[in-house]
Amino acid sequence: MLWGVLLAVALATTVLHRDRVVALILTSLAGLIIAPFFAFHSAPDLALTQISVEVVTVLLILLALHFLPATTPDALPAPRRLWSAAVAGIAGAGVGWLAWAMMTRHHAFPPISEFHLAQSKPGAGGTNAVNTIIVDFRGFDTYGEIIVLGIAALVIFATIEAVLRSPAAMQRLAIRSPRREDADRHPMMFAVATRVLLPMAMLVGVFLFLRGHNMPGGGFVAGLVFAIALLMQYMASGYEWSQKRQRYDHHLVVGWGILIASLAGVGSWVFGLPFLTSGFVYVTPWPLDTFELATAAIFDLGVFLTVLGAVLLALASLSRLALRTGDAPQSRAFDIDPTEDR
């Protein structure tokens, strides 16, 4: 069933891709179908990550669409499109065959995952083998990855900075064809609902973060959940309103994230161990049950902060562009003041 929907959605995208909002929605649908696929095939961590990444991606692309034409203008001539379709079809068939061939054959070498499964609990102290691979066994890989993410966020910031300084670009931005704006740009229901939801969403984030080592969750997902909760505030109440309540600079959040992860890595040198060696102890404070304290959690905190900062920095950069387009700045929380007598 899902397979049929996925195929239909994917093929519809090729036909309808010229209306960009429709194309974006179809793309996100494809991503949302992949999430239950992961969940069904024993990868709850992947399903969680896929869903939250999908939400963040769609929100950012929607914001970005504000600055791009709403439709792709002239289509390519028919022979050209046929040629593209032929190339794409052949490549797709090849990749599909490759995937099928891989799945239906036996491993050429025994997979090394047995080691990870066997060592997850005694070696790293966590029962979620996926998470222990990310923060313990392959911590260096993850460390590099959050640095890439941080750099990507800085690239976004720098590119927007360059656009803001280019007179030609600003001129184009100013004469951009006016769009129809809704009268009530920050609907009260939406604003109130997202504010009530904010602490709950953050609680879910903390919960996912804390259980990460043993159950599905972890720094990546927690960071994304936090980011979505904050993104909703920006969407519901406007950038200005939210920015005034933003106490920490996004750059700093990214920087601290990488710094904390680095410290968690360097910390093992003190004990004469290689970079990013993780340790753990089990503690049983009196009223509570036994739980685990791991240095990997410090590393995961760094991952969490970097992901959060990177998403918010990308959003803030886009919003800076929006503020320069002459869209009326919104300083009040609602467009309608409910206390006003009317």
Partner: protein, 113 residues
């Protein structure tokens, strides 16, 4: 099941490539998103398809291969970073050049004329 997943991967790849070949920034971004779905799923299935065997110690007898899952998890987040950077490059390209074509070869000049 394997055949279904394989055709889905093939379709996602084909759609991604077709969109990239449209040579406009926005379809290219969507195309790369489709391609990264395809790549993520095919990386994931290199651990084979198993159900009810989440790699969480103590919840069952057999476990799915956790290594591809960990690799794909980071890949999903990285592809988000890539999409965001591309999106910004597309905006900046559109604002600075006044159009959103991705090719600067002879065709583009012909089109502009």
């Amino acid at each position: 099941m394997e055949a279904l997943v394989a055709t889905a991967i093939g379709t996602l790849t084909a759609v991604g490539l077709y969109l990239i070949l449209q040579r406009r920034t926005f379809p290219v971004i969507l195309g790369l998103t489709f391609l990264s779905y395809a790549v993520n799923v095919s990386l994931f299935v290199s651990g084979r398809l198993v159900t009810n065997a989440a790699p969480i110690i103590g919840t069952g007898e057999t476990f799915a291969d956790p290594l591809p899952q960990a690799l794909v998890l980071t890949a999903i987040v990285i592809s988000f970073g890539m999409t965001a950077v591309l999106m910004i490059l597309a905006i900046s390209g559109h604002l600075q050049a006044g159009h959103d074509r991705v090719n600067l070869g002879d065709d583009a000049r012909k089109d502009d004329a």
